[in-house]
């Protein structure tokens, strides 16, 4: 059963990612795109966690953890860019 459930959830995440990408490409504003990218980061974490469950391995946990950390930092950086231009003042 778990296998089917995984596939199902997987499909949901996949659809989510596609929706994110759609928003990312369509925009219309830059903040919209950043928001989409940030969501994409998080959805990717979901993807990796699912993959880990499917493969019964925790070896990709750190990747997920880092995406969480780094996604945040880069989103903040882009926002800072939009606000101030100079991200390190």
């Amino acid at each position: 059963m778990l296998e089917n459930v995984l596939l199902m959830v997987f499909a949901m995440i996949g659809v989510s990612l596609m929706l994110n990408l759609w928003r990312l490409i369509v925009g219309p504003s830059v903040p919209d795109r950043i928001l989409a990218l940030d969501t994409m980061y998080i959805n990717t974490i979901a993807l990796i966690i699912l993959y880990g469950i499917g493969m019964q391995t925790q070896i990709y946990f750190e990747a997920a953890l880092l995406i969480a950390m780094l996604g945040f930092v880069s989103t903040v950086a882009v926002c800072k860019y939009l606000l101030r231009g100079d991200i390190i003042e």
Partner: protein, 109 residues
Amino acid sequence: MTEWLISALLILGGLFILIGSIGLVKMPDFFMRLHGPTKATTLGMALLLIAANVFFSVENGVINIKEILISIFLLITAPITGYMLIKSAIHHELKAKDGTKGMDNIEDD
């Protein structure tokens, strides 16, 4: 039993994530789009991660809650992401949906 639990958590988590992304696509203005990802997705992630915890605890026979770290992390950062995004949206003077109340509350940045 645990399999049911895991499955339920997974499906719920997936659903929330999907809804978050639907919100991202569906909402009419940026400020409203922001709500989906910052909330629904965060919860969806938490559910998924709990599912993973349960799964690996069962799988390895020891209690495993390390995935919750990611959730903690997201809980800490998601509001700041939203804050930064909304700041830049205000800075870019993005149009809010017609009829949005309290626009006069926004000051120059």
